[in-house]
């Protein structure tokens, strides 16, 4: 099943995601990140940004992917509405890659509400691993 839930931690928060395939997993983790930042459900896909990230392994790729979304939020004020993953390569050790398109709209204080500021996506207890039915991940963010 494709889903996510938020994990509780004394000072910070985490995301536990599941996906039927690896691409779905990375999308679910991104939805989890958005949920931490805002509970808004009315975000429209008015604009689109291409995203390309690289990592040593699928864990680093996850940290870099979510960090990229954080950067788009902070520097382009992009609230993401939808994520489309075009390519995902994890078979070359030391060179995992993800290319995606992130659709969303610019933060508008009259219509949107931001709940929390995420400082960074961390490597703490990071897990990205196959399960019997697909993939699961766990990632914590610093608030």
């Amino acid at each position: 099943m494709n889903c996510f839930r938020l994990l509780e931690h004394t000072a910070d928060m985490g995301i536990a995601a599941e996906g039927e395939c690896l691409a779905a997993l990375y999308v679910q983790a991104a939805l989890g990140l958005r949920q931490i930042v805002t509970a808004c459900s009315y975000i429209e896909p008015r604009t689109e940004f291409p995203v390309e990230v690289q990592g040593e392994d699928r864990e680093e790729l996850m940290v870099n992917w979510l960090s990229e979304l954080l950067f788009l939020l902070e520097s382009r004020r992009l609230l993401p509405a939808a994520f489309e993953i075009d390519t995902l390569e994890i078979d070359t050790p030391g060179d995992c890659r993800l290319r995606a398109r992130v659709a969303g709209e610019e933060f508008d204080p009259d219509r949107h509400y931001l709940e929390r500021e995420i400082k960074a996506v961390t490597y703490h207890r990071i897990e990205v691993e196959p399960t019997a039915t697909g993939w699961r991940a766990q990632v914590y963010v610093d608030l």
Binding site: T10, A11, E74, L114, E115, E117, H124, L143
Partner: protein
């Protein structure tokens, strides 16, 4: 995993060296705190032990009584590394580089300010950008100017008309960490920083108008310029997105560096590089930039605090005499000279959620405070109180001149929100004479008093251990949050 601890006395515990540890752990805590630490699943004690495995550590891996779990190093952790044999670790500083506290004094009394506290809170909230995405429209930095600011620190702000030159004498390192090189900062860090200079941020960052409620040490209070019934202002913020990005960039680099230099890591977040390596030196120069950003940030916010007081109270600078008592970092790594086992040693002291607390007479304690020790500010929570301390010889001898930094969270955000549900938090605070302005409802709920330890318990351990001396207790009248 259970961590073995041995009680040394009523406020000290040893984690004896075993396995890959190169030294003991030393935890400052009372019996109740230690029982809670041993029960919790967050493994803060294990993190103290992990830090003890890092190469070149000098003295024990130390934890202050406000210890709680952090990424890599625990929050409340202090560790010193030999300048030649040791390492530097971004996880030993944290994401919010030079997160710190500035305390401003005024000549105003509670009777003068309380009747105007609501409009004052409104004005501070309007004048100081807080919350996500907000910034002052009158502060626009070119890339060249941003680089200059990162090199100069708080003196850049003074040069641009924010505050006065004498403020600099009352900031740790005089508001500028030397060796800052903006070339070592990524374009992304520069971009994240440019729009966020002069902003408070959200979460536990705040500006507070406080009242001096009780004096614990009359002589020190008088030297610091504190008196009962006085109005002070506390500013708690750091290096914002620029610092987070510097940490993030260098954590990534140091994952590779640790492998390259054959450093075995019990936790990926502990990644580090030798102080003498290119990666280590690069981190220190980048960290200095972020630290200078944070000093500048607090200098700018101080100027807007002064402006807000003038507007609302209709008094000029001469009548209010707002000035900086001190500004301390509580997330930093610094090259310092310490005596260790009778020898003078050059060390890189990591303080993550810990504050420098230099003793009376130390050349780095500002001249004005040299008879009493360096001022240290320990914020509590928004509903109770905060403390002003001074550094001691005990801290210099035992903890590389360090003490605690705050209360430390005990409730998760979810648990805090659950506890806050259905309550009128504004009215509860108002009943205690505290007004609050915040841009996020979630922040107020997540920051309720119950989320934190009682900071009195923390400073009591510190005082009993002789690594800090209580000077005054402050109580909030107005709290501004992101």
């Amino acid at each position: 995993m259970d961590v073995k601890v041995q009680q040394i006395d009523s406020c000290r515990w040893r984690i004896p060296r075993e396995g890959a540890m190169r030294t003991d752990g030393l935890v400052f805590a009372d019996r109740k705190m230690m029982a809670a630490l041993q029960k919790e699943k967050s493994q803060a004690l294990e993190q103290v032990r992990n830090v003890a495995t890092l190469p070149g550590i000098v003295g024990p891996s130390i934890a202050m009584p406000d210890i709680h779990w952090g990424y890599g190093f625990p929050i409340g952790g202090v560790a010193a590394f030999d300048a030649k044999e040791g390492v530097v670790s971004p996880g030993g500083v944290g994401y919010d580089i030079n997160c710190g506290v500035r305390l401003l004094r005024t000549e105003l009394t509670v009777d003068e300010v309380r009747p105007r506290i609501e409009p004052l809170a409104d004005e501070l909230f309007r004048n100081i950008p807080s919350g996500i995405g907000s910034h002052r429209s009158d502060l626009k930095l070119s890339l060249a100017e941003e680089r200059k600011m990162l090199t100069q620190g708080a003196s850049w702000a003074v040069e641009h008309g924010y505050g006065r030159a004498e403020d600099l004498d009352h900031i740790e390192e005089k508001g500028t960490i030397k060796g800052a090189d903006p070339q070592s900062i990524s374009a992304r860090a520069l971009e994240r920083g440019r729009n966020q200079l002069g902003t408070l941020g959200s979460g536990n960052h705040f500006v507070e108008v406080d009242l001096v409620e009780e004096i614990g040490d009359e002589q020190a209070a008088s030297v610091l310029g504190l008196f009962p019934g006085q109005i002070t202002v506390t500013i708690h913020t750091g290096s914002r997105g620029l610092g987070y990005q510097v940490c993030d960039d260098h954590l990534r680099m140091m994952q590779h560096a640790a492998r390259k230099y054959g450093i075995k890591l019990p936790d990926r977040q502990l990644c580090c590089a030798p102080l003498t390596s290119t990666e280590g030196r690069q981190y220190l120069t980048a960290m200095a930039c972020a630290a200078n950003f944070a000093f500048t940030n607090r200098q700018l916010i101080s100027a807007w605090v002064q402006e807000s007081f003038e507007r609302v109270l209709g008094k000029g600078p001469a009548a209010m005499r707002i000035s900086t008592i001190y500004d301390v970092c509580h997330n930093i790594a610094k090259m310092e000279t310490h005596m260790f086992e009778g020898k003078k040693r050059r060390l890189c002291v990591h303080r993550k959620g810990a504050t420098r607390a230099f003793p009376p007479g130390h050349p780095d304690t500002p001249a004005l405070y040299r008879s009493v020790g360096q001022p240290v500010m320990i914020p509590g929570d928004m509903g109770r109180y905060s403390y002003v301390l001074v550094g001691t010889q005990g801290a210099f001898d035992e903890t590389f001149g360090s003490t605690c930094h705050g209360a430390g969270r005990v409730l998760s955000r979810h648990a805090a929100k659950k506890l806050a549900r259905g309550r009128n938090l504004e009215a509860e605070l108002a009943a205690h004479g505290i007004v609050i302005r915040a841009s996020s409802r979630a922040t107020v709920a997540e920051e309720i008093s119950e989320s934190y330890k009682d900071v009195l318990d923390v400073v009591s351990v510190v005082e009993q251990a002789g690594i800090g001396k209580i000077v005054a207790r402050l109580r909030p009248l107005a709290v501004i949050k992101g």
